[in-house]
């Protein structure tokens, strides 16, 4: 019996060895898949086991964390949720994380390896790091001015510091409060469902994620292309633009909104001040498709990966068009479409001597104790044109505000340059037009780079007189004034 006993003993021990092998399979080789299984709540529990790091505006947190007493120990709170929602995005235990909350989620939830003191030791002890903070570039006063200016209209504002590309304000209305669905309760779910079902799409970030036909504000790009390529050298000199201007290959003349434009040989300055379609369409065609495309590209058009780090939607300027299409595109119609951010970059480029900076929403990343994890530096996106062209462009924009369609943007004691836009849309232009205004401003007498450039779009307003100058310019003025008074 000792031989059979030994064999049976070996068999019994092998049974236990089989368990060890299976345990190794599960705990080592299948670990990754099982940990990331959608039905496994452990990762979510760990994520909310500690207070989340904060998003800072001007050094002050605009977010917080509140203990829930539930399985997910802490949930996100927002001090002024609706005001900063276009900047922060949301962090919801049920619906995930978006925008800055999503992009810097590792840092905020404490799993970013850069937070670890001594990575190997922390991995062994499984010590969870407190979440780090994300400092944004937002100017709280400008943000508030932008949101208040939009009020209950549907629209968006993007304001940039031209010298650095720092985003000072990013507003979108109608808005939402991300704090209403941060948790897992029935109330959270109802709030989310209500937002999802709202036909006005309150959770759409219109400043970054929505493209609109830019209308006449795009004429700044056309003017820049014409000046930079020598199609126009003197903004005061008469151009050879004919009237009426029949679009090449068609019998259709390009119409103007005002009779003052209806004559041949207007100067570029007059054409911009009065926003003459016939002149700007003609100049766009004279500049040519390639050079127009190249100039649009300088401001972020046709870039599908423009990250602030929140990715902006792709602004469009077609690269294959016939001349009549090019004429329409040159005045911001046809397929031309832009985010408010891209149009703010146009104004900022003019303000900063042709230097278009990367738009940047985050200043720096820090650990919970405030020590630096990463500092963001301004970086050049494109050198769009030279200082001389910039000087001419600024003169054109100043004249628009001083003498033209942009008078509502004038600020006492400041030099303001801008351009209005009123974009028709809908079938046969049946929709309420989009009212646009792009601008920059600096203290009167200053020769420094203007501290602020802004783009405003008001869509589907209830107002009777829908024009960029009437609706959008006052909002731009209020945001710029706030920055100038800082």
């Amino acid at each position: 019996m000792s031989t059979t006993g030994r064999r049976a003993g070996t068999f019994c021990v092998l049974l236990i060895v089989a368990l060890a092998v299976q345990a190794t399979r599960v705990q080592v080789f299948q670990k990754h898949d099982l940990d990331h299984n959608s039905a496994n709540q452990r990762a979510t529990i760990q994520r909310y086991a500690q207070p989340r790091g904060n998003l800072l505006v001007a050094g002050q947190p605009v977010t917080g964390s509140a203990p829930t007493g539930g399985r997910y120990a802490y949930k996100r709170t927002y001090t002024d949720g609706a005001l900063y929602a276009p900047v922060t995005g949301y962090s919801s235990q049920t619906y995930g994380n978006t925008q800055l909350e999503g992009i810097h989620d590792d840092l905020l939830s404490g799993t970013d390896p850069r937070l670890a003191g001594w990575a190997v030791w922390d991995a062994v002890t499984r010590q969870q790091q407190p979440g780090g903070d994300v400092a944004t570039t937002i100017d709280p006063a400008a943000q508030r001015a932008a949101m208040q200016g939009l009020g209950n209209q549907k629209g968006a504002v993007a304001a940039i510091e031209p010298a650095t590309g720092r985003i000072l304000a990013l507003a979108s209305t109608p808005g939402y409060d991300p704090g209403t669905f941060a948790g897992t309760s029935a109330a959270d779910q109802n709030a989310w469902k209500k937002l999802q079902d709202d036909p006005d799409q309150p959770m759409l970030n219109r400043a970054l994620r929505q493209i609109y036909p830019p209308g006449s504000t795009f004429k700044v790009v056309t003017a820049a292309a014409a000046l930079a390529n020598g199609v126009v050298t003197d903004i005061e000199a008469p151009t050879d633009a004919p009237y009426p201007y029949v679009m090449p290959g068609t019998t259709t003349p390009l119409n103007n909104d005002t009779g003052a434009c209806d004559r041949a040989g207007l100067s570029l300055d007059e054409a911009m001040t009065l926003s003459c379609n016939s002149v700007m369409g003609y100049l766009g065609v004279q500049t040519g498709l390639d050079r127009m495309t190249a100039m649009a590209k300088n401001f972020g058009f046709n870039d599908a990966r423009l990250d602030t780090p929140v990715r902006a939607a792709r602004s469009n300027f077609d690269t294959e068009m016939n001349k009549s299409q090019l004429a329409l595109s040159s005045i911001g119609q046809y397929d031309t479409a832009a985010t408010p951010l891209a149009m703010a970059m146009v104004a900022a480029g003019a303000a900063a001597d042709g230097q278009v900076m990367y738009p940047q929403l985050v200043d720096k990343l820090t650990k919970a104790d405030g020590s630096q994890v990463q500092l963001m530096h301004p970086s050049l996106y494109h050198q769009a044109f030279g200082a001389a062209v910039a000087q001419q462009l600024r003169q054109l924009m100043v004249d628009v505000v001083e003498n033209g369609t942009g008078r509502n943007a004038r600020i006492p004691g400041a030099e303001v340059g801008g351009k209005t836009g009123t974009a028709q849309h809908g079938v046969d232009n049946s929709g309420t037009p989009y009212a646009w205004f792009i601008a920059w401003a600096r203290p009167a007498g200053s020769t420094a780079v203007p501290p602020v450039a802004v783009a405003v779009v008001v869509a589907d307003s209830q107002a009777d007189d829908v024009t960029g100058g009437g609706l959008a310019a006052p909002i731009a003025r209020s945001v710029m004034q706030t920055v100038l008074n800082r």
Binding site: T4, G9, V26, Q27, L34, Q41, R126
Partner: protein
């Protein structure tokens, strides 16, 4: 007998050199208690930031019990294998710590009850060592034991089922699983019967095809009793225990007769039983499906079943574990402290801790087999081997179930899982192994005979 005395002569000096091993045992027992106390402190520190106030009580209680058991071994089984008792103390201690930790999840507090049952278990351990001076006396009660075991197994049929199985006897606040006690009695009966009839089983019989079938009159009683057990178990839908008894039966029959034909018959019978039960019982059918596709319910949008939750727990533990108290065992659902307690061990102590626990079981089993092989009486041999095999198979069946190695059958992990009948029974098993190892290792028969 000439070889016998020669072997004895050769063994004497070696055994003297080795000593009785009692001091080794004492040190190991104290180390086991120390490890358990360390576990309590870790639970407290991880959950509350400080050592739990009742850690000292638990540690002291476990320490007193362990020393009591050690004293009994010293007094009545001084040549016993010095590893058996420390392993039992450590496994029981780990069980108490994990149950204590799981008490922190919402639900009833089970650790004090478990400590009470452990006390009873150690009491019975001591009683067995004091009252049973020679295991061979058990042989006389083999048939009585088998009858008692059958009665114990039938009784739960008259009590309400718990989680679909009629395996519990509930009397007011007390409840126990008679199947746990029955398995020891059954091992005793098998050992006695096979020791008496092994020659007939091994040497006679007709040759059919390429192996020899045993005679009907020898095989008959065994099959009859086995069928009675399995039949009752099927009625109670207690698959785990059926599997355990069946494995025990096959292993002991093989050891006694050295006939591989038995293994073939055993496998055929088990295949038949498995197909039959799987066909008749939807309960079993669903468990087989869950075993083959543990994550299927998730893909079907019905959320994770208990096996999936168990696998999630093991995986989350990884190689080093989350640390005691820092896992998420509450997600596993019911039976966290009994059938699924190993998942918490895997999650909070990691693969490392799980290996340590499996190693303890392997050592316990190996030491049981070692005692059995060293014994010279066939009954003792078969009994020690049978008891060791019981532990091995039970560990395999329950751990294999929660690790998705085999279908889940629902059994208690020896010593670690919550459950009075289980802890008490396992202490009795260890007591019997200690008793037999004492005889197996005793160097000079004259000393005590």
């Amino acid at each position: 007998m000439a070889t016998d005395s020669a072997a004895r002569a050769a063994r004497v000096p070696r055994a003297r050199r080795a000593g009785t091993g009692r001091w080794t045992e004492l040190v190991l027992v104290l180390a086991a208690v120390g490890l358990a106390v360390f576990g309590y402190v870790e639970v407290g520190v991880n959950l509350d930031g400080k050592a739990p106030p009742d850690a000292a009580q638990y540690g002291a209680a476990l320490g007193v019990l362990a020393l009591l058991a050690h004293g009994a071994v010293r007094w009545r089984a001084r040549w016993a294998d010095p590893l058996l008792l420390p392993i039992a103390v450590l496994l029981n201690g780990i069980g108490l710590v994990v149950i204590y930790r799981l008490d922190r999840n919402p639900g009833s507090a089970a650790a004090p009850t478990q400590l009470l049952w452990s006390t009873l278990g150690v009491g019975l351990f001591t009683a067995v060592l004091l009252l049973l001076r020679d295991h061979r006396r058990l042989q006389r009660y083999a048939y009585v034991g088998a009858f008692v075991a059958l009665v114990l197994l039938v009784l739960p049929v008259f009590f309400p089922p718990v989680y679909g199985s009629r395996i519990w006897i509930t009397l007011g606040p007390l409840s126990f699983q008679p199947g746990e006690f029955a398995k020891v009695l059954l091992a005793v009966f098998f050992a006695a019967y096979l020791a008496a009839h092994r020659d007939a089983l091994a040497l006679t019989g007709r040759k059919v095809l390429w192996f020899r079938l045993p005679l009907g009159r020898v095989l008959g009683p065994v099959l009859l009793i086995w069928a009675a057990f399995v039949g009752v178990l099927v009625l109670e839908t207690d698959l785990g225990t059926s599997l355990l008894f069946f494995g025990l039966f096959v292993v002991m029959l093989y050891v006694a007769t050295a006939r591989t034909g038995w293994i073939v018959i055993g496998l055929l019978l088990s295949a038949l039983a498995a197909v039959g039960v799987g066909w008749l019982s939807p309960h079993v059918h669903s468990r087989v499906t869950e075993w083959l596709h543990p994550l299927a319910s998730i893909e079907a949008g019905q959320g994770a079943n208990q096996i999936a939750q168990s696998l999630f727990a093991f995986a989350w533990g990884g190689q080093l574990g989350t640390g005691l108290g820092l896992g998420h065992s509450a997600l596993i659902g019911f039976a966290t402290k009994s059938d699924f307690i190993l998942a918490t061990v895997g999650e909070e102590l990691g693969l490392t801790g799980l290996f340590a626990v499996l190693l303890l079981y392997a050592l316990l089993v190996a030491r049981g087999f070692k005692a059995g092989i060293a014994l010279r009486d066939p009954f003792g041999r078969l009994l020690a081997i049978g008891l060791a095999a019981l532990v091995a198979i039970q560990v395999f069946v329950v751990a294999g179930g929660v690790l998705d190695l085999i279908p889940l059958t629902g059994m208690t992990l020896p010593f670690i899982a919550q459950g009075g009948s289980s802890v008490v029974t396992n202490w009795i098993i260890v007591a019997l192994l200690v008793r037999m190892s004492d005889l197996a290792r005793r160097p000079v028969p004259e000393e005590d005979a």
